[in-house]
Amino acid sequence: MTPYLFVFIVTAIVTLGAALMVVTARSLIHSALWLVLALFGVGAMFVLLSAGFFAVVQVVIYIGAIAILMIFAIMLTRRVMREDGSRFNRGWWLAILMALVLLTGLVWMIQSWSGSSSTMQPLPPDVVDPIQSLGAVLVSPNGFVLPFELASILLLAALIGAIVVAWERK
């Protein structure tokens, strides 16, 4: 067992366990804290995939902004922080069934695809820095400048929309 495989397995187990706790924890604030751990595990996966930039973005955006925003929302709706009664709705067994069916289908599809056994090659020498080419392609007219601008407009619309929706009219 190589150290890489060992780190991968440990990260996978921690991440999946934390994700399971997110969807099953009784207290909402515990759910949010487990979510932070799960997001951190996904960031570690990005490091294993030699995408360090995405690991940093994961910590800054997901843990630093989204998880904190969730904790704020939980505390603002504090009367329901501990759910009385069941955490799950009546169709929870149907949800388990659906998730398992989807998982079986996905695993079967991955196993039957010939490319799924491809191993990681070292980055080709002409790829100087993936981040450099990513930055260039995001603003080049032949690349992704249109989706990039669309994402900016989407963020602006979400910013204004969130203020309008949460505005308390006197």
Partner: protein
Amino acid sequence: MVPLSYYLIFAALLFCIGLFGVLARRNAIVILMGIELMLNAVNINLIAFWRYRTPEIVTGMAFAVMVFAVAAAEVAVGLALFISIYRRRKTVTADEIDMLKW
């Protein structure tokens, strides 16, 4: 070394856990957390495919950046909606928010 299928199966497991959270939980904020888990699974897939299949083309990474932006926008609007609903209805339980159902 770790073959690509390990990452794909890990992402599939994470996606299914998130899907279970979205379908089964009653609290709307936890449903949003499940959606976050699903988006993270998609991101792992995008980055894994980039790293294993086409490391010289950065399309996979560019898509992952878009997923990050969409996730941030979705959480901001979603949480604003829940706070607004909580102010009027004193609940964020998904099956009690049924004003559109009659």
